[in-house]
Structure formats: C-alpha cells, structure tokens
Symmetry: C2
Subunit: 524 residues, 2 copies
C-alpha cells in the first residue's frame, strides 16, 4: 500500500481543483486520534474537493459544531467520551433535534467487540462503525469515500426535491414571467445537481425582453449585450436580471461568446456553456459551473436535451402570450368598427370592466364572470349591418329607421349563433336580448323578467348607464345625479330591480371605471 495513492480522485488524475471542500467533523476526547485521522486523510480528495477538518473533543462540543455548520458531510464520532453514550447522544441530537438527515455518521468505538445496537444503526442512520484499532489509512480512506459518496447522493436528491417543488409551483401559471423564471430555476437546479455540478448555474437569454412576433435579426446574431441572467441558482440566484457580461468573469464571458457564435456546447475546465436553440430568438445559454472533470455520456445527453428544447419552450410560451394579446386587439378593433362607435370610444372596455364588477358583486361564479366579461364586448356587432347614416343621425328617427336600428339585435345574433364555444353562445344571446326590458316592453321578443337571461339584464342596464353618463352622437353626457334618477325611475320597468340596487349602491365602483376608460376625441 502506497500512501501516495491517497490523493487519487475519481478521475485518475492527481490535480487538485478548487471546487470547495467536504467538511469532516472529528469527535474524540483523545487529541491523538484527531492527529492520526488528519494525517491518514491528508491529501485526500473526491470530485475535485479536498477535506476540511473540524475538531470537537466532547459530545457537547460536537453538538455546538453541528449547530454552527449545516454542511458537515461526515462525522467520525467517538462513542465513549464524557459519558458512556456521549457519542450516541450526539447522533440522536443530530437526527432528532436538528432534524439533520444529511450528515453521514461513522461511529468509532474503543473496543473492537463493542458494537452498537442494531436499532441505533437503523434509527440514527449510522453509515458505519469502526473500532479504533481499524484506524489505518486504508480503512479510513474506504469508509470516508463511501460516506462522502452517500452524502453527495443525498444532497443531489435534496436539490432534486427543491427543484421539483419549484417546477410544480411554476407550472400553475407558466404565462407569467415570474413563473417562467421559477420553472427555469427548478430545472437548472435539478440539472446541476444531477450532473454533479456546483449549485452555481444560470440560464441566460434575451427572450423575455423581445417579442417573438419579430423576426430574428441575423446581422445582429452575436450581440451579447442583449443577454442577461434570466434564472439563476446558487451564486447566480442574486444575479437575475443582470447583464451577462456583468455576471461572469472575463474568461467565462469568452466561453459564452464562443458557445453563442458556434451555436454549440462548450465543455471547458470545470464548467459548461451550452448554446440553446431558438427558432425566433438569437438563442440562449445554459451556464453550469463546478462540472466534474469526467462527465459521462448520460450527462452530456441531458445537457443536449436541455440545449435543444428549453428555449423552444420559452419561445412557445411567449408566442402564446403574444397570439392572445394580438387576437384580443383584433377583436377590440373589429368590435369597435362594427358598433360604429368610432375608434375613440371606450364603451367596450367600460362594459367589460363594469360587467366584471357587477357579476362578482351579485355573486356569479368566477367562470361565469369570465365568460360575461369576454362576451359582453360583442353585444352590438349587429350594428355593422345597420347603415351608419341612421346610427349617427342626430334628428328624430323615422319609423323605418327605428325598425332598421332594432334589427341590430337580430343581426348580432345571426353573426354569433350556433357556436360550440360558451363565450360565443353567451355573446349571441346578449346580442339578441340586450334591448329586452324587465317589464316585457323591449325588443325583439318582448321577453319579461327572469325570462331574460341574467347576463342580458346586466348588459341592458350597463349599456344604458354608459350611454347616459357619456356623450353620444345624439346626446351630451348627463350629470351623475340625473343618470341615477332616471335609472332609479326605470327600476322594475326597463331594468331588473336587484341589478339597479347593486349599481346605485356601488355607484363609486362604476364611476371609477368611467374615469379609468374615458372616451378620447375622434381622430378621424
């Protein structure tokens, strides 16, 4: 046995890297044991980390060490010290009081035959026990290697657990930027731990700032100034939002440049920088540090997988957000055009917001409120088939013109009817019924009271309220007290009395919406 071999690491190379230390706590009341142990384990390292020794000479001192260090990898624990079971009390304290299930415990007993009870081994999760006569360098080496590997694996599992928790949390709402961040944090945390890297990892992208609707700019493909840390773990968790060049060292920055330029995965020294493929952006980077020198094919496969997929996921989420916003704007523009309200009108925005307040206020469930909010902007699309000249007429209407205007309810229904989508079904009904009256004197069907859908009654009331309080082509804006008076007079006649009560009792909420979305002067 050659003691020089003590510092062989997993990679069969004897270069010590500076990837930190494994903390080893030596607990023994004989100072000599400390000295021998340190001597035997001098120059030891595993996975690029050396050992850092902490010494305690009694059970109490050992407990203090555990309180002060939450990252002790292995404790070599004497059993008999200030009392016959002082060591066992330390083990119990670590597992049950401190709830530390990570540190590997190796018991050392004075007498070879003095084995601990099996239930001690089981319950305190003791990794091994040795008699002090087994304190040879070789034995110690073997037991520490095995214990550190166990410790390392337990930490990987804990990191995986923490990462999984983030992924689960984030999955609730991937369409918010903060959730995307958490999702990425969870994935890189798991990735780093499973690859055996340090915790210090980052995902670097431009994606969130840019809109995926825009084409990537090929002439600008290498502008690293647009890259910043989107999600970070370990050292990089404080650097989210920081520009890449300010987050890493100049040498690392060069690696990033290279990965970006060559669109490849760069394995270098103890870290990896992986270019992440993007369809619409200029790509992103995965940065992992503390990479074990010998990275396996399995691990490389996982990095490739990440590199191929993750930015595409990102792109997709951004695209989805963008598609939804674009569609919403189109609907709003077409809706306005079809109402012939003029582009400066905010009638639709106010109707949506007021419907939400009233729906919640009268106790509709969340889903019904959502449906109403999205259906109500469409109530007047039938106006598109009524000549604008009639809609904008300021003089009294002829009977033919009144007939033509009343047609808009049926036209709207025709445009929207027979859909399988609940929002559009509701919109069709609102279009048809929003000129019905509580007393049955409305049109087109003369429905009465609860024969009119609740949502339609809401639309009717809010539509009239909004028309009265604002300027229309045929009238000026009325003062609030006059509006309240008229609405109140129509309670039980034009309008559902309960809805009138809610409106008038919470008028400040509705006026707040009026002030948030005023009409703007026509620019045409």
């Amino acid at each position: 046995m050659n003691d020089d071999l003590l510092f062989i690491d997993d990679d069969e190379e004897d270069v010590v890297e500076d990837l930190g230390t494994w903390k080893i706590l030596i607990v023994d009341d004989e100072p000599e044991v400390h000295a021998i142990t340190k001597l035997a384990l001098n120059d030891f390292f595993l996975n690029g980390k050396t050992l850092e020794f902490i010494s305690a000479y009694s059970g109490d001192e050992a407990k203090r060490c555990f309180r002060e260090h939450d990252d002790i990898a292995v404790v070599l624990l004497d059993v008999v010290m200030e009392s016959d079971d002082a060591g066992l009390l330390v083990a119990e304290y670590v597992r049950n009081e401190l709830d530390n299930h990570f540190t590997r415990i190796i018991l050392r007993t004075g007498q070879p035959g003095q084995a601990p009870e099996k239930d001690v081994i089981i319950n305190y999760d003791i990794n091994d026990y040795k008699s002090k006569t087994e304190l040879t360098a070789q034995k110690l080496f073997t037991v520490i290697i095995a214990a550190l590997r166990s410790y390392r694996d337990i930490i990987v599992i804990e990191e995986s657990r923490a990462g999984l928790e983030k992924i689960i949390d984030a999955s609730v709402d991937l369409f918010s930027s903060s959730s995307l961040e958490k999702f990425m944090q969870g994935i890189i945390q798991q990735l780093a731990s499973i690859l055996g890297c340090s915790k210090d990892a980052a995902y670097i992208t431009t994606a969130v700032a840019a809109t995926p609707d825009a084409s990537p700019n090929p002439t600008n493909a290498l502008d690293l100034n647009e890259l910043y840390v989107f999600a970070g773990n370990g050292e990089y968790s404080d650097k989210e939002g920081v520009l890449l060049k300010d987050a890493v060292s100049p040498e690392e920055y060069e690696l990033c440049k290279r990965a970006m330029r060559d669109r490849e995965i760069v394995y270098a020294e103890d870290h990896v920088v992986a270019y992440c493929n993007s369809k619409t952006q200029n790509g992103a980077l995965l940065y992992l540090s503390g990479l074990p020198r010998r990275i396996g094919e399995n691990d490389k496969h996982l990095v490739r997988r990440f590199s191929n997929s993750v930015q595409l996921a990102f792109d997709n989420v951004l695209k989805t957000i963008d598609v939804e916003s674009t569609q919403r704007e189109i609907i709003e523009r077409l809706g306005k055009a079809m109402e012939h309200d003029g582009q400066g009108s905010n009638h639709i925005a106010r109707m949506s917001a007021m419907a939400e307040v009233m729906g919640c206020g009268i106790g509709m469930n969340e889903n019904d409120v959502r449906l109403l909010k999205h259906a109500i902007p469409l109530h007047d699309v039938g106006n598109s088939r009524v000549p604008v000249t009639i809609l904008r007429k300021t003089e009294p209407l002829t009977e033919d013109e009144i007939f033509a205007i009343r047609q808009h309810a049926e036209f709207g229904y025709q445009i929207l009817k027979d859909s399988s989508r609940p929002t559009i079904q509701l919109a069709a009904t609102l279009a048809r019924q929003h000129h019905e009256r509580w007393d049955g004197k409305g049109y087109p069907e003369g429905l009465q009271g609860q024969a009119i859908l609740l949502q339609s009654r809401i639309a009717t009331l809010l539509d009239v309220f909004d028309a009265l309080i604002n300027t229309r082509p045929y009238k000026t804006a009325w003062p609030l007290d006059k509006v309240e008076k008229v609405i109140n007079e129509e309670k039980g006649r034009h309008f559902d009395p309960l809805l009138v009560d809610y409106l008038l009792n919470h008028i400040e909420k509705f006026m707040a919406i009026q002030h948030q979305h005023p009409d703007i002067p026509e620019y045409v």
Copy 2:
C-alpha cells in the same frame, strides 16, 4: 446483541410488508460462505423490502448473473476464486463492460491484511471491503444497510434524471395533450422516487376530455366514471387512457372515492391518494403506491404542493387553448360579417391556407409566413363601411358606387392602423394595398411593382384567384382553365409575375385547398 433485532426496519416496527425485494448477489467459491451469509441476513428487511439471494460460485458465473439481472442491489464479492483477481475482474466487468454503476460492490477477502489497491476502490466504485473473518451477523448487517441505502439513493437520482428529461422534453410544447402527459409523467416519476415510493404511480383526471369553459357541475362532483389515468409511471404507464375503476383494485378504488369526496389527501397502508384541487374541473387524483410507512413532513409538504398546484396548471393550459380557439372563432365570425361575404363563405379560410402555401413556396421565413397567415383574413374588413346593397349588387355599378366600394381599402386601413402588433400592422397594410396592381393601375395609391409590399401582392393574386374560381353574387364559378388563362394574361399587369409563376406551377396545391374549404350554401 440480539439476533431477533435483525428484522427491525426504518420504521421501528417489525411487520414485513410485501413491497418486493432487494436482490443480493453472493459470489464465493466456498459454499459455506453462502450458507453463513444467508443465515446471518435471514429476516433482514429495509423499507418494507426483504432480501432475495442469488448465488454464484465463480467469477464467470457472477458475470452471467449480472447479465441476467439488471437490478442487483448489492454484490458480496469474493476476490480470490478461479484466479487471484477473479473478483476484481467481475468488478471491472460490471462497471466497464456492462456500464452498471448502480449495484453496490462489497469485496470480501480471505486474509485480513489483503486490502485492495485504492485505485480499485475508486475506479470500480467499491462500497466497502471486508475480510471474511468479519462475517459476523452484526458487521454484515451494517454493511448491507449502508450499501442498500446507497443503492436506493442512486436509483432515486436515476429516476429524477429520467423524470427531468421528460419534463424538459415536454416543456417544448405544453399545449399539446401528448406533451402534457409527458410532463405529468416526468413530475410523478420524480415525486414517486423522491418520496421513496415504488415506480407505480398515476395521475388521474377528467380534465382533458372536458372544456374548461364549462362550469363545474356541482351535482355531479363525484362521478368517478369520468376519471381516467392521464399519465402513469411503472405499472401504470400501460394504463394511460384507462378508466380509473378498471386501473386499480376495488380497495384502491374506494380510497380514490374517499379522496375525491372529501377533497383531501388520504395516506393509507402503503399508498397515498391525493385529491388535486381544480378551479374549473371536479378535481383530479394523484395515486402513489409503495409508500414508505413513515413519511416525513418534507414529503407530505411536497405532496400537498402537488395537490394544490398541478391541476391548476392543467386548467390553465386548457384555458389557454380554449381562449385562443374562442378568439380565433370570434375573429372569423366578425371578419366574415365585416366582409359581407355571408356566413357560408369560406373565402377567409382559403385565403389563409393559400397564403401559407405560397409564403413557404417562395421562401419566406417561418415567422413571416405565420404573420401573413394570421393577417390576411382581415384584408376586407373595410367592407363593413360599404353599404351591403352595393357589395351585393349584380348589375353594373355606377361611378359613385365604384367610388364607395374602393373606399373599403382605406376603411380597412383605418380600422387596423397604428397597432404595435406586427400581425395587425401587416393586416393594415394588406387592407390598404390589396387592390394595388403590379403595373401601377390599381387603387388607392396607384403603387407599382415592388413598391407594393410582397405580402400585399400575394393577397391581391390570391384574392382574385379565389373570386374567379368560386361563385360570387355577381358571377358564377369559372372553370380552372379559364381562370389560369386570365391569371396568366394578367401576369406583369395586374399581378407580380413571379407569384403568378408559382401559382400556376403549383396549381394542384391551391386547388386542393379549394376542395378542402368549399363555400357552403347560405342558410340565411
């Protein structure tokens, strides 16, 4: 030391559960060693699993056992058998030939002083070595416990890795049902392994079949007949799509009922059934089996997290899909109404599909094609401000009427202009330019050649082609040869010559779209 204590498990209870076995391979050329080992470890169990012994009496036999079993947890490996290093050759074979890095290897040597070289311990990832004189029950117990725990942790990490790979893969396209499945598989695989459960786990839901737009039906909240296995791991990976009641035993089905009814997490015997909270559905279930009897607070926390979040994530994805489809249908209905095309016309659908074919065909990039496809349906929204009587007129138009019709290009532009969204910006340009001509004789601006946006030139050509090949209020459908002749005559006059070439050279692609989206007879 009391041998009765040998079968104490982690839970301080001495009931053996039937959760399977740990496979232990004993390799030794002395039959007596096999007998003593089995005797010493008789009645041992850990985490509810007993030991299953496999015996090999030579190195060659040991290698065969490893080829036949890929789930050997621990091998007790004699070093000197048919040769002095037969055992070491087995270790080398396992790690390097079979690429098995999971099985824990414990070397046993005949002589106490005969320690293996340290590089052997490192390179073959040897967990421990013992002299045969250390074959006491107590020593064996300790070393097997430690080795099994290591093995268990390594397997957890492997499962986490596999789960992470699924999560990464699935994240690319969460809006497809198959990706959602894979995402869930990845999460439950990680969850099961981290909790120390067996691989057999399932996520059970109704969500995908139903549409989230619909309100949950409270009277129907307990209809378990609608629940089926959505994503499964282990035993349940073959049961995806199977009804819950056909996938589990009657006892387990009762547990599921209880969890669903009480909307809670049920911990029972060796499995857990967790109700998963949903806003819009009736909830879902997480089913994990092979649960360790003593489940920690950390683990319960993770299950609660899953239970609170995951179905909401599901709901959100479904809602997003639904919102997008609903918005698309609204845009289509309003677009048709504004074109005054009649609800039976499929002009818009054909224009979108043809624009995609032509965009790809002439080499536009993917993003530009997508924009064009979504913008082109809006090119005629300006028609909404042109009297229908004029649009539908079958007799020749007066000059005033021609002027009125030509206004629709500018009207459309007014409706769509000044948006920050690229799709709408493009649509505004298409609305304004789709009656310009290659020779400059079009309207409203009389632009010529490449001064007209490429996308507008595409819209112009496809719009005319579609009008010619189909029936319109003012004309019957023309036969293809007549259409081709006219289009060809207008090459370089009305139309961009290159686009005409593409259309006529690939006419079968465009006719296929015509056949896929025919106009349907008006129902009004």
